[in-house]
């Protein structure tokens, strides 16, 4: 397959079919987009804390620009950061290496996937500069606002936004097919279902969820595109259409999407926790089946986003039940990770700090979701800053904390060098502490009645007493953004000058640690492809003197 396809020069980086290069393309594109999304947050948070200020480095934020910034921030962070980094970058890098394959099953589809993704990223960035400005109808893009340029005043921005999102879906469908087929067909000899590392399972389950949920939204997006450009009336009530139809299609995708990004992060956290606690995962099968159950349930909760949207009020009762039920498997996933710590020998290296922070912070996101799933409470909390703080307490642990955990853990394998652990820890605390200072105040603001997506709260005198919390949140955001400089310094410095990494610096069991750091094209020499003899989490096994037992060792 991939053997003998080694490319030279610049082509190696831009036209490669090697899964590791494609992973790096996704990773660095995602990181760049993350910086863009983060800086957008800086601009609109400044406007919220100090309305009307000329934001340093940007200028005065107009209401149209404000709406465009929050819309782009949300869209970019979900579609161009969380998905490419968690699923595409780590899925591409880890799946072949962890199942002992020389590459993906469809390397050219893989290359196409990234190229389509890159095009979508260029489109969403370009939409910031078109006449009328970028789309400002929120990342949920509800019609009629999104469907009619007379309402949104961004004729080009709205359509480009939609095309960019649709292309991104195409990229992930191509990538997802590849992940699923690769796991099914390219496993090393001896690797049975329960020998597959959890992160691989999770990325593949996430890909399946994505493929099952995105279809209706693509249909919806085509109808929205026709409404925008051809003047059809799928969402226009004056012509027999229904705006709420879009909401159903969007959230039928949108809620499983939460688990599409959550599951890979949980998988990474599990692998890291097992390694640094020197512990077998507590209840491998419980974990796996719970993740599947979560995925199935996630298809039956979507309308909890629409309790007050004008749906039949009786429907809310059903979705309250399903939504609260999903707290059971999610709690269980957390319990399993926590139980894995019992009896361990825990060392707090940088990747482990991130992995543990994921659990500690995600729990806040989890329990605050229950307030919103309870229909009676959502009547008040819907679309307040409470919602915003809640999903940032889920997405930030997933997309940022989870990514840093995975990145610092697999960095030696990716680049063949070690990162600086002290700088890593400073960066960790400099990110996690400000994160809480951003979003805990926003929970309070939400309970006090602050609505989302309001450009300037001065029109709402009732909210005045708590406005100082906006200043706290914005200050914390700036501190957090500044600490990222440290990360990029550590990254680029260690990439070139860090101490050389051995094959298996963390003394871990999974197959990616049995090849060189970084792995050569084809991952292993052709005559040394690994065989698998046991599961991925055999730490401290009684039959072995060392406290880890790599999957590829016969005994």
């Amino acid at each position: 397959m991939a053997q003998g396809h080694g490319q030279q020069g610049i082509l190696k980086y831009v036209w490669s079919t090697d899964h590791k290069i494609i992973a790096m393309q996704y990773l660095f594109t995602g990181m760049f987009m993350g910086l863009v999304g983060g800086l957008m947050a800086y601009v609109f948070r400044m406007q919220l804390a100090f309305p009307g200020i000329s934001v340093p480095g940007y200028g005065v934020v107009s209401p149209g620009e404000y709406n465009a910034l929050i819309t782009s921030h949300g869209s970019i962070m979900i579609f161009w950061v969380a998905m490419p980094v968690l699923i595409a970058a780590f899925g591409n890098f880890l799946i072949p290496l962890m199942i002992g394959a020389d590459d993906m099953v469809f390397p050219r589809i893989n290359r196409l996937s990234y190229q389509v993704f890159l095009l979508s990223a260029i489109l969403i960035l370009a939409s910031q500069f078109v006449g009328g400005g970028a789309f400002g109808g929120a990342w949920t893009s509800y019609p009629p606002l999104s469907a009619n340029p007379e309402y949104n005043l961004t004729p080009l921005g709205a359509t480009i936004w939609l095309l960019a999102v649709a292309l991104e879906f195409v990229a992930f469908l191509l990538g997802g097919i590849n992940f699923i087929v690769t796991l099914m067909n390219a496993r090393a000899p001896g690797m049975k279902a329960y020998d597959i590392p959890m992160v691989v399972w999770m990325i593949v389950i996430a890909s399946i969820l994505f493929m099952l949920s995105v279809g209706p939204l693509i249909a919806g997006a085509v109808m929205l595109l026709f409404d925008q450009t051809l003047g059809t009336g799928f969402y226009d009530p004056a012509r027999g259409g229904d705006p709420i139809l879009w909401q159903h299609l969007f959230w039928f995708f949108g809620h499983p999407e939460v688990y599409v990004v959550l599951l890979p992060a949980i998988g990474m956290v599990i692998d890291i926790v097992a390694t640094f606690a020197r512990k077998k995962l507590f209840g491998y099968k419980i974990m796996l089946y719970t993740a599947v159950a979560t995925g199935v349930l996630s298809f039956f909760v979507w309308a909890h986003h629409q309790f007050i949207a004008g749906i039949d009020p009786r429907m809310a009762n059903i979705f309250t039940v399903t939504t609260l039920l999903i707290s059971v498997p999610i709690a269980e996933l957390m319990f399993v990770i926590i139980a894995t710590l019992y009896g361990g020998s825990i060392s707090l290296k940088t990747p482990m700090l991130w992995a543990l922070a994921f659990v500690a912070e995600f729990l806040i996101g989890g329990v605050t979701g229950i307030f919103l799933g309870a229909s009676g409470a959502d009547v008040y909390l819907h679309d307040t800053y409470f919602v915003l703080a809640h999903f940032h307490y889920t997405f930030f642990p997933i997309a940022i904390i989870g990514t840093f955990a995975a990145f610092t853990y697999w960095f030696p394998k990716m680049f063949g060098r070690m990162m600086n652990d002290t700088l890593g820890k400073i960066h960790f605390w400099g990110t996690v502490i400000p994160f809480n200072f951003i979003f805990i105040p926003l929970f309070v603001l939400g309970l006090a009645g602050h609505q989302r997506r309001i450009y300037n709260f001065n029109n709402f005198p009732e909210l005045e007493p708590w406005r100082w919390l906006d200043v706290v949140a914005t200050t914390a955001l700036i501190v957090m953004l500044l600490f990222q400089i440290l990360f990029f310094y550590n990254l680029f410095h260690s990439m070139r000058k860090g101490p050389k990494a051995e094959k298996n610096p963390w003394k871990s069991n999974t197959l990616e640690w049995t090849t060189e750091s970084p792995p050569p094209h084809g991952n292993w020499p052709a005559d040394q492809m690994p065989r698998v003899y046991r599961g991925p989490y055999e730490y401290a096994h009684a039959d072995r003197s060392e406290d880890y037992w790599p999957q590829n060792l016969p005994n």
Binding site: L153, F371, G376
Partner: protein, 225 residues
Amino acid sequence: MVERLILQASSYAQSIDGLIMLVAALAGFWFFLAEGVFFWLIWKFRAKPGVGSQYITGEEKHLKRWITIPHALVLVCDVFIIVGAVQVWYNVKQHLPEADATVRVIGQQWAWIFQHPGLDNQLDTADDIWTTDDLYVANGRTYHFQLQSRDVLHDFSVPVFRLKQDAVPGRTITGWFQPTRSGTFDIQCAEICGIGHGVMAGRIHVQDESEHAAWIAQHSSVSAQ
């Protein structure tokens, strides 16, 4: 606790805040328990020289209990929350009590239009009172509102009432509220509706019965002429 952040001014505000507190108590219990156990384990099983880790699969029955028992207890808590949530929801959104008066609320880019009944207490008659951005109601009376939109989605939100409802073009959505406190309060648009979304603020003036009667008498006659 919510009422310390923002007043309660409708008959159902207290029950919604009560539900929020019920969830806070139940979810808070699990949250602090999980975080407590979590940090305790990290401390207790920190790496110590010469002490290895234990081999525990978690597959045996007596070990699975550590997951299945909390699992069942979480489910029990969920049932309590579901019952509370459905009860509150039913009273606020599903059940429509008899109204003393009906007002029409119309959202448009970017203003609220309010249609009050005049002296005859009937909508769509000649003496209706039309206002923009200011809604006048009497304290203690039960109101139905008929919510409409002229263009895009809006959301009629009165935080002190704990009331929120989307306005959808092409539909009339009927809901209710009963003010319990006199004063002037914020009305927000809570669904993004374009560049003027942030300025789409209104005020609801909850008046005493006599004050409100006088207001109607004064404006109704003006409208009827």
